[in-house]
Point group: C2
């Protein structure tokens, strides 16, 4: 790492509404010579779309193409992306790597970060996460006072989800997608299905908020979430 | 609720760095005629201090004084605050209630929200939470891939903390304050004390990041947190 090397910014750009960008992310986005972002093999980058109105046009853009299959992507995909970004940094250019939501909260940024940490200067700019955006969209308290919160990927097996739900007062089950029917089954078995609120695209015009019990499970997109508060547990009145 | 009533905005202003305000929070803060915020009985409001540079001066300000004792504050404190805000709303004025971090993530906003929801129009603007701000300050992944995250108040009893730590891959133990020695004892018992990073004032100039094992436990402020990743559990390589 040399003083003349550029700096990598892991830039949280929030959950989707361009207005949920922070002032810091906006300042850095405008200042850097290179903007990088993950994007599917075919189609547009969601992270880039959030800040598209703020990208000046004179900046170099690096699209990190991440195929949908296999999931998770192979290590080589991230090795190559990290090498491409490292080359920019070693040429003395600062790079902003756009991260939807927050970079360190289930972000694919983590795959780049673990490859470059220790060898390059990295600054992480936290962003509004899907977790709090979904609670705001549903207008329900996420967790309060002495309550504990569990964040649980829907990709886990039924028994794993059930075990984690048993040890919290509030839960967010994320990335519902094709796992929605399974999640509803687990919640039904535990008696919590009527406590579960479903949210998709929390801060976008296509937002949908509904009881989880009312959802057609095969239509839930990957970016959807269920928020559950277990009544009668220890987090007090509110 | 009448069409002529004002709207209450629960405005997340982020964890402390004024630059971590969102564009949306800034727009609304400048637009509303009334700005409210919690403040201790003596001393300044932390939430207001975050956005002090953006308060225009022509706005009416309502300081909601919350005594430190008893903790939690009596219901009457929030009843009175809700009534004062309701009077503004009923006079047709929009009110921005400033919330450090995110309004629905352990926010005292929840106490006002539960009193006014259903009777007034309320819009919640999510903010950057202390959770992701602390991970960014420590430059460690909070949670990734199929990992589960538990958020645990340090005020819980040892056995409750231990039970919740047993059911996650990553944990954030929040509001350490005078509970720091107890938390370190629990983590030591479970063999995780060397995995724990301590963070205080994550986004302020007074920020401190250190191994939890290296902290003098009686000096941790209320706004401090330990982040723990349990190695060898199920959240994969990164």
């Amino acid at each position: 790492m040399s003083a003349e090397c550029g700096r990598l910014y892991g830039l949280g750009v929030g959950p989707g509404d361009p207005e949920l960008l922070t002032l810091k992310a906006l300042r850095l986005l405008r200042a850097v010579p290179v903007v990088a972002y993950p994007t599917p093999e075919h189609g547009d980058s969601f992270a880039r779309s959030i800040v598209a109105g703020w990208i000046a046009g004179h900046q170099r853009e690096i699209a990190i193409r991440i195929p949908m299959r296999p999931a998770p992507p192979s290590a080589e995909i991230y090795d190559a992306a990290a090498a491409e970004l490292a080359a920019e940094l070693e040429s003395g250019r600062d790079v902003a790597l756009l991260c939807q939501g927050d970079p360190l909260f289930y972000g694919s940024f983590i795959n780049i970060f673990t490859r470059l940490a220790g060898r390059h200067q990295i600054e992480i700019v936290p962003g509004v996460s899907s977790l709090t955006a979904c609670a705001a969209a549903a207008a329900i308290p996420l967790v309060s006072r002495e309550g504990t919160l569990a964040v649980i990927p829907a990709t886990l097996e039924e028994d794993q989800i059930a075990a984690r739900l048993a040890a919290c007062d509030s839960a967010a089950i994320i990335k519902l997608g094709r796992h929605t029917a399974k999640v509803r089954r687990v919640l039904g078995r535990l008696g919590f299905v009527d406590n579960a609120i479903y949210i998709e695209y929390a801060t976008l015009p296509t937002r949908r908020v509904a009881p989880l019990a009312a959802i057609e499970p095969d239509k839930a997109p990957y970016f959807s979430m269920a928020l559950i508060r277990m009544s009668g547990r220890s987090d007090g009145r509110s």
